[in-house]
């Protein structure tokens, strides 16, 4: 039972990380740096808890803010850089963060940062954050900014000509993604009680991308689904435990060949929403789709 809870908790943290990747992704920015932002949040939150004795929530929030600030700074040059170039930039960023942290003795350097106060209600906090994110992202979906995000991700030059301030949109998306990653890092640190730079390397950044790509890129339920399933399933198929990473790799390849948009598609979510509407009436569905009934 304890084991199940711990797996579900980690899944929750993974969901947060997948969503942190998804936000900039919506605007066409593919970031391999979310693990780097996670580590900034993790270390900042841990320093607040351990060295300054701050309580949990402020510490985690500060972690998020630190990550957001760095995200903003990185986001500025990232504005002009697209596609693989951005991927490389964020990759380089993630690695630099890792190496920098390896060299800072104050936070333990390569030996890691131990003694982080354990948060026994991590499960609640993690899924609390997930819930908040679901509500926010759902509101975003049917809003002016949500459309702007999608437009920028679809064709940013056309979006700009239409009147969208793509600079602002991309920066907001990137910094928000960093913030969410930082929060995830803070929660993670207080669950593991010990962190080290290697926990936040490129491979982990890649994992978060796999969650999203597998789960579905058309709507935010995709990353949630992907993170949850890909965290849980390997735990229960003991037989494949040792081959988890190879399977992730194979999964990426297969998904790209067979269903590049991911498992969860926009259509499937809308069908589910319509079904709920039919079952429970308009008001419930209205709550689900942020207060606006889908009129025809």
């Amino acid at each position: 039972m304890d084991y199940l809870i711990s797996v579900i908790t980690i899944a929750g943290i993974h969901i947060i990380m997948a969503l942190s990747f998804y936000l900039p992704f919506m605007t066409g920015q593919i970031s391999l740096g979310q693990a780097g932002f996670m580590s900034i949040g993790a270390y900042a939150a841990s320093v607040c808890s351990v060295k300054f004795g701050l309580p949990y929530v402020p510490a985690v929030l500060i972690g998020g803010v630190c990550a957001a600030v760095v995200g903003f700074i990185l986001g500025l040059p990232a504005l002009r850089i697209k596609g693989i170039y951005l991927l490389l930039l964020t990759l380089g960023f993630g690695e630099i963060v890792r190496v920098v942290f390896i060299n800072i003795d104050y936070i333990g350097a390569a030996a890691g940062f131990p003694g982080i106060p354990y948060q026994e209600h991590t499960l609640l906090y993690a899924y609390g954050v997930v819930l908040i994110l679901i509500v926010l992202l759902n509101r975003l979906r049917k809003s002016r900014m949500g459309r702007a995000f999608q437009a920028v991700g679809s064709d940013e030059n056309a979006a700009e000509v239409i009147g969208v301030n793509i600079t602002a949109v991309k920066l907001i998306a990137f910094s928000s993604g960093a913030f969410i990653a930082g929060i995830g890092g803070g929660i993670f640190a207080h669950y593991q009680e010990y962190i080290e730079p290697l926990m936040f390397d490129v491979m982990h950044a890649v994992e978060f991308i796999v969650f999203t790509i597998f789960g579905g890129i058309q709507i935010f339920w995709g990353p949630i689904f992907g993170a949850f399933v890909l965290t849980l399933v390997p735990e229960f198929l003991r037989v494949i435990q040792g081959w988890r990473m190879e399977l992730y790799g194979a999964l990426l390849i297969i998904m790209m060949i067979v269903r590049p948009q991911g498992i969860v598609s926009l259509d499937s979510v809308q069908s589910i929403e319509n079904a709920i509407r039919r079952m429970f009436g308009n008001s419930t569905a209205a709550v689900l789709s942020s207060g606006q009934p889908e009129g025809k």
Binding site: I30, P77, R80, I81, G83, I84, Y85, L87, L88, L89, L91, G92, F93, E95, I96, V99, V100, I102, N103, V202, M203, V206, I209, I213, G242, W243, M245, E246, Y248, G249, A250, L251, L252, I253, M255, M256, I257, P260, Q261
Partner: protein, 291 residues
């Protein structure tokens, strides 16, 4: 002393160039970033290792064999992970090659162990003295082989029919197809050649560092990427020169910077970020070699 470092830098740079050329070749011809290229290099290194250790074959046979093995691996990657992809999702090849990377690296750890393995000293390292400097026979060999391969490749692209096909495909898949070029075949060959070069680089790395591990893939992949950016995406000559520049820069930076700061690893990242921000087309522009 400085001259010694320069030689070291050039040698290091030559291996970087070999890696980068593979990247830039694939990028030039296919327009994709072959994320798994570094892993192919790693496999090449281990292939070389095992061929030498098990069969006792001399280097001049073991190297081509290793190159052949990685060339085949490259072809397999193309057939299984690239060719079946749909053309409409522009991220698909990148993500697919990320998948290949994960698979290769984790399999390697399973087969070869997670620790470094000593690469056999196949060549008796004789030191030659030139004036007051020492130059190692290993250095000469590596530089020589690398240069040979690079120049060979350059002429291959510039002068042969297949090379012409590669140049055509690098301009436009569609138009090359209309002109009668078998695009799939060219892509296959490109993957094969690039991967063979990576294999050679892997063996060179084993020779010069005396030890290899399943993790060198990522390290050299990143270095190769930086060089590719430095030299200009798709620019083969640029990759050659860029590699030498990076090798020199890295070696000299160790000399110049204080030793407490272990910055060598991120030195290349710093360069990469600077290039991306200020001159994404690289020092030499993004032109594929012309005829």
């Amino acid at each position: 002393m400085i001259f010694q470092q320069i030689i070291n830098g050039l040698m290091l740079g030559a291996t970087y160039s070999l890696v980068a050329i593979g990247y830039t070749l694939i990028f030039g011809v296919l327009g994709i970033l072959h994320f798994a290229h570094g892993e192919v290099l790693m496999v090449g290194a281990f292939m070389g290792l095992y061929i030498i250790v098990w069969s006792g074959l001399p280097l001049y046979i073991a190297l081509p064999l290793a190159m052949l093995a990685t060339g085949v691996l490259g072809v397999l990657i193309d057939l299984l992970a690239i060719r079946p992809l749909r053309k409409d999702f522009h991220l698909a090849p990148l993500l697919s090659t990320i998948g290949v990377t994960i698979i290769l690296q984790n399999l390697a750890v399973k087969f070869f162990g997670g620790f470094g393995t000593r690469f056999p000293d196949v060549i008796g390292a004789t030191n030659y003295q030139m004036g007051s400097f020492f130059i190692n026979s290993v250095n000469i060999l590596i530089l020589g082989i690398s240069l040979f391969l690079m120049i060979g490749l350059y002429f291959f692209i510039a002068k042969t029919k297949i090379g012409k096909g590669m140049r055509a495909v690098s301009e436009s898949h569609l138009i090359a197809g209309y002109l009668g070029v078998n695009v799939d075949w060219i892509v296959l060959i490109t993957f094969g050649i690039a991967s063979a070069l990576a294999g050679a680089a892997g063996v060179m790395i084993g020779l010069s560092f005396h030890a290899i591990s399943p993790f060198i893939g990522l390290t050299f992949a990143l270095k190769g990427l930086v060089v590719m950016l430095l030299g200009g995406l798709g620019n083969v000559a640029g990759a050659m020169i860029g590699g030498l520049i990076l090798g020199l820069a890295e070696v000299l930076s160790i000399v110049i910077l204080p030793t407490e700061i272990n910055l060598q690893d991120i030195f290349s990242f710093g360069i990469m970020i600077l290039i991306l921000i200020f001159k994404p087309t690289g020092l030499f522009g993004t032109r594929f070699p012309q005829g």
